[in-house]
Structure formats: C-alpha cells, structure tokens
C-alpha cells in the first residue's frame, strides 16, 4: 500500500482552521439485515464527500498542533500572505 504522502511535492503548504463550525457527518446506523425491502448498503451509507468538512465560504476550525520539528503551529502561525493550503492525508507510516 502506498504511503499516503504520494501527494507531496514542492510547494507552499500551510494549515488552516475554521472557527467552531462542526460538520455533523450523517451516517446511518447499520441496520440488521438489508432484507425485507430495506435500503441497500449504498442508500444507507453513502457518504457525500463534497459535503464533509468546511464548505467554501466557511471558516476552518482553530487548532494548535506540533509540527515535525516540534514547533507548535496554529492557523495564524501558518498563514501566508495569500492564505493557506492544507492537505489532510492518511498516514506517513503505512
């Protein structure tokens, strides 16, 4: 399996945060047995990735996290003159 960093390239990177906007991910509880005219797996469970996370125009949450050098970073500390780019990836470890 590829390390999830396949995306990384030279380029400006920064983090961002939204203030307080929690996105409720709706996920139907997996019901026992799709039988008896129940919904298909797809209907029950389909996640719409266009709706997860902060939407265009919304603010990103605040955060305070350590980076790879041990420095604490926040939205403000990472912000560049033109804004920020934030990439969420799965893992650098597998």
């Amino acid at each position: 399996m590829s390390v999830d960093g396949a995306l990384f390239q030279v380029g400006a990177m920064s983090a961002f945060k939204t203030s307080g906007l929690r996105l409720m991910l709706l996920l139907a509880v997996l019901m026992p047995a799709a039988a008896a005219g129940g919904q298909s797996v797809e209907e029950r469970m389909k996640v719409d990735l266009s709706q997860v996370g902060p939407q265009i125009g919304e603010r990103v949450p605040d955060f305070s996290l350590v980076d790879q050098t041990g420095r604490t970073q926040t939205l403000q500390s990472l912000m560049g003159p033109n804004g920020l780019m934030m990439v969420f990836f799965r893992s650098a470890d597998w």
Binding site: T18, L30, V52, D67, A92
Partner: protein, 272 residues
Amino acid sequence: MSYDSQETLAAFSTQNGITFPVLSDVGSATIERFGILNTVALEYLENDSDDPEFIAYVRQFATVGGRQERVRGIPFPGTFMVDREGRVTSRYFEDYYRERSTVSNIMLRLGAGEDTVTGTQIESDHLDITTYPSDGTVALGNRFALVVDITPGPGMHVYAPGASDYRVISLTVEPQPFLSVLPIDFPPSEIYYFAPLNERVPVYQKPFRLLQEVVPAVTPEAQKAFAGKDNLTIVGTLEYQACDDAICYNPVTVPLTWTVALRPFLRPEPRQ
C-alpha cells in the same frame, strides 16, 4: 496534517525532503473537529459484515486492506485552500481515496500555476500552442493535468464552445486502458461581432489555457499493467477553426502528446 506522531512525521519529512510544516494530530481530535474523520473506516472496524456491497463501499472510501486498527482516526483525504480570514476558498476531495489531485494541478486550476515542466511548442498557421503536463512525474492515482496553452495569431480568433455553424475548439484524449479522462472546463470566452454577417459568436481571441485532467488508475489491475513502466505517454488531438476579421480558415486538427515519468509508491523506510 495526519494522525502520525511528530517522530514519524520528522522521519517522513527528512526522507522526502519536505520543508513545509506537517502537523501531528495524534488522536485525530483536529481531524474530527474539521468534520472529515473517516467514518467509513470506523464502520468497517465496528462491523463484521462481508456483504459485497459493503466491502466495495469500504474499498472505495476507507481501505483496500483488512480490518486493521490503524485505519481508526484517518481522515477522508483532501485539500483545502483558505484565505487570510480563515475561510475556505476551494476544496479538493476525491471519491476514491487512492486518487488525489497533485498540488501542481490544483495550482493550475486556481490560475496560480507555474510552468515548471518544459513544454512542447507547436506553431500552426493560426495559433501558437504550448503543451505540457502539470507534473513531470506522477504516481498511479495522481489526478494531474495536461495543459494546452494557446495564443491566437495576430488578428485571429478561434471558435469557443457554443458557437454554432463553426467547428468549435475541442480537445480529445485518445483512450487507453487504466486512464480516466475527466471532462474539461473550458475557460470563459468572449463574444465576437462579425459585422458583414451581423453575427455574434463566442470566441477566444486572447491567450487561453485548456486543462485536461487525467488519472492513471491505481487498482491492482492497473498496477500490474503499469509494472515496470517508467513513463506514461498520452496522445490527443486539438481541433479548432480560426478566422481573422476577413475570412475563416478550414478547421484544423493538431496531434498532441504528453509524456510523464511514472514513479513507484513511496514506502516508509523500515523503522529500527
């Protein structure tokens, strides 16, 4: 940002020459506050089902591996662009977790691209054309762009989508196995008023750019097909019809080629 420890990210950054900050969100609290915690992965862990539809769903959104604890806390992977007020200005998420837009592709789509890859110049009678890929090297699953930069010659315009009765500009990529070709978003055109016929048609007169996004597949079949291949060549054609303010020329077909190097997946180095 990932859920990895600082130590893991330090090693990863060193191995890959990464100098920009990579944030450690151990426990995934920030990932969760962003609302992008991968809930399909959690479902997979909580639920023993091997229903084929469920598994296909898991393979698309969460993992092609087994029920491993390490998928707990991963995000849906994606990229946000944020302005100085902290507001999202654009976002890039793919339905298949193993497909991902490259940074260069995102930059080009935002109009902020740099010409980092040497292009091919083509001069036709009516246009100057430069073609290049957004990335010189890609991995399977990378969503990248084939760029066609076009400068109409002096006094020339070419017909843009919506111009009836003329051959509108089109870019066609020759199909090949394991290559997804995405629909093109043509840039905005201008209206040209041709007095002798009293007609108004959408055209491109100023330099413009076409971005054709493609994704080489990353499925096991695709990986087998690409095994041992160092590069990927993509062939296409550009069709257009150009006019100056007196006459219209015959439609033209221009063959185009892009070649990118293929690199293998990055693998973490074994830990001591």
